[in-house]
Amino acid sequence: MSTSDVTKDGVRGQREGRDALIGQGSGKGGRRRRRGERAMVPEATFTSYYGKPVLNAPVWEAADVAAYLFLGGLAGAGSVLAAGAELTGRPVAARALKISSLAAIAGSAAALIHDLGRPARFFNMLRVMKPTSPMSIGSWVLVAYGPAAGAAAVLDVAGLFKPLGRAATVGAAALGPAVATYTAVLIADTAVPAWHEGYREMPLVFVGSATAAASGAALLAAPVAETAPMRSAAVLGAGLELAASKLMERRLGMLAEPYRQGRSGRLMRAAEILSVAGAAGGALLGGRSRVAAALSGAALLAGSACTRFGIFHAGMRSAQDPKYTVVPQRERANARDTAKTEGA
């Protein structure tokens, strides 16, 4: 039993040699590093609770949600290009893009429903319409877009009801840009640091990536004579994706680390290489060789997929490490306190 008294004035009657052995606690001077704990991040002076994340990381599966980010982009941008191809007399490219959009949006719906904790309650998504919830808006957009994209593809392949098919094609093209971009808002509207703080550029990254993917699908599936606009679109899309990503990383500062390190970093690098190779290959050789066009198309599709999976994993990484939550917020709070003190 202890014989010392703890009072406001300190400890009285303390006995020597009875000091409890303690760790570094979580006091000033960095996170507590315990035996066997891996150094997950370069040293940064910040405090956390035993290195535990502040946030609860997304429960989304990469195979569902990252795949959806890719497929949604492919579908949405594909419908835009399909309408352009159809209206300018490129029927084979138009049909190929309509089919790829239908397949992609069907895959998207399957992935999204599969990712639900209660898939049978999918229809609760249509219980309300909430502008504050990008997922609610997205669900309604998909409800309108899915049938349009489906009708456009089916009526084209079947060769039935041409005016109706045309209307569906145009309708899907009108909704396509929304399908391709809202997902950027979907992930940015979270507390995940690498996603939220990238909200300014994310829609441009997504639109660029989507355009590159859809162009890739056209290069893969349509004859060379019809793909000239898609080859240009691939260059513009890949260029936009790259430029917007670079801009985003520059503005993110330390929050760009997850986009450069680990699995997410490798995916982002692979995306860069594949997109540039695909766009360049398409532009330089895609007009001459069917094989080169197909290879370029495949590279563009793979590049877009890598971008989405890279962004997905970067977000996960930033949510799982308290550094990315604490350091920027601490800097913000300190700056405000300093401003307040100086103002007073």
């Binding site: 300190g10 609860n56 429960v59 007399g89 309300v128 509207d189």
Partner: protein
Amino acid sequence: MSGLVGRNLLAGAEPDVAEDAGYPDAPPRMGFFTDTSVCIGCKACEVACKEWNAVPEDGLEFTGMSYDNTQGLGADTWRHVAFIEQDKPVGDADSGVRWLMASDVCKHCTHAACLDVCPTGSLFRTEFGTVVVQEDVCNGCGYCVPACPYGVIDQREEDGRVWKCTLCYDRIGDGLEPACAKACPTDSIQYGPLDELRERAAERVGRLHDMGVEDARLYGHDPRDGVGGDGAFFLLLDEPEVYGLPPDPVVTTRDLPSMWRRAGVAAAALAAGAAALFAVHGRPGGGR
């Protein structure tokens, strides 16, 4: 409802959350004031919460994190007592150790990101200004999980839906205090009308400062903060991040109007860009 027009309901101070949510004669906003300076780490709150709400067991694991094997808030932990051992003297002593203990809980934010992003309307604002999940509606989309800036709400794996503190919605409607507050032996957890709690907290922090406890500070009490103030706020004895709390949380939907605008620009760029490209290229036989 006409009072909602022209106001920013996504961020900033919002004195009447329940009324803005559609309750014409809402009772006063209720909340928690958790005064960690008198927390003794007994975890009665954790136990009472589990018992009352029938929250399932969530793993018995030895962490080595002081006396904390609970680790953090989640689907099956709605109160979590943090233990922090610090090489810091107490009072005027030259050296020594101090323990910080704090019972964490859902903050029931004025601007609750979980509620904002919920696509099904499962999460809703109660007449008491608290935020509650309707489990018969939740489809387990998981969007609220990364939306929460505090890492509170989470998905229960075997069940698929999300769960969090309800501020004992079933008890407070009957005039009872929430189970954790009821069980707290030191009144570290205080339940009551938020206005009253804020006054009491300001008084308490002032008294602690007078006693020389300069570390004492309030967290989540300020309606002008990034989430419009918390319905459950705290008196802490160190920086929030020491307790695993974010130092300057901001509701993600504060920036949502800007996000939609930027997405609109990007979408328009796609449509216009594609139209321009096809116009430039023309018909396959014709243009070039």
